[in-house]
Symmetry: C2
Subunit: 155 residues, 2 copies
């Protein structure tokens, strides 16, 4: 019988961006803007990327890193409060195998110099194919890339 395991874990990431909450929210929810920081990067090929960040809407992407297997995300937007909050459920797949299911919350709040973002992920890692540490590092890189994109937009 195949071994079936679940490892649960949570992490949060905080960032401050020198941009208004409306622009940060736009970068999180507009398909062309999000594609730039979320889906594209050196060595990555985006085979497919769609985003409908409304309640009940979906985001799906298929990516490959160099000659690696297809990596896919499937996201459902659950709660959307403009310029304030996103709550979404997403699964990750490698080569067609589901490796995790997560609940992710993005909270935006204005602060003196711009916007504070708090990202919280509550994850179930399935059958030993991913870890909390790797996931958190991947998300930290994504939010760094988002920060660079917001700086570029402000310039």
């Amino acid at each position: 019988m195949t071994q079936r395991t679940v490892e649960h874990g949570n992490f949060s990431i905080e960032r401050s961006f020198d941009a208004p909450a409306s622009l940060v929210f736009q970068a999180l929810t507009d398909v062309e803007m999000k594609r730039r920081w979320f889906a594209e990067g050196d060595g990555w090929v985006t085979e497919r990327y769609v985003l409908d960040a409304r309640e009940g809407g979906r985001e799906e992407g298929t990516f490959r890193y160099q000659d690696g297997p297809p990596i896919r995300n499937e996201t459902i937007y659950l709660d959307v409060v403009e310029d304030r909050r996103l709550v979404l459920s997403y699964c990750m797949f490698i080569a067609g195998k589901r490796i995790s299911a997560s609940l992710a919350t993005v909270e935006l709040s204005p602060e003196a110099s711009g916007t504070r973002l708090i990202y919280t992920e509550q994850a179930a890692f399935l059958d030993g194919a991913d870890t909390l540490k790797t996931r958190k590092e991947g998300c930290e890189q994504l939010f760094d890339t988002l920060g660079s994109e917001l700086t570029r937009l402000a310039a």
Copy 2:
């Protein structure tokens, strides 16, 4: 501006049932069997209950307790391993207002006398309308009711 808050929390519940995993799984995934322990109870009126516990399938229920407001759940089944595991995303609503979003995992494993169930919920409570304590108590009651139903089925 409306106050927007998110409280994140996790809990687990463990139960041992004197029933084979296949029967426990059936009680979790068959619409008529689940309706008996999940949707019905003294003082509760079930206005609507549908369940399609396949990957990508949905569960939706609308309930009222006595003369209270409509309470609704909206569930999406993410990962389904027959007789072993369910991972689902669900939201709760009271009077049309979303009060929480959760990732829930049910793990079943055979043990000497039957089946061990571990339920893990990773929740985001929205805008102060529910608490971890209340949610956990509600789930404990549901799994007690499931236990009674399994005992009834075995008799």
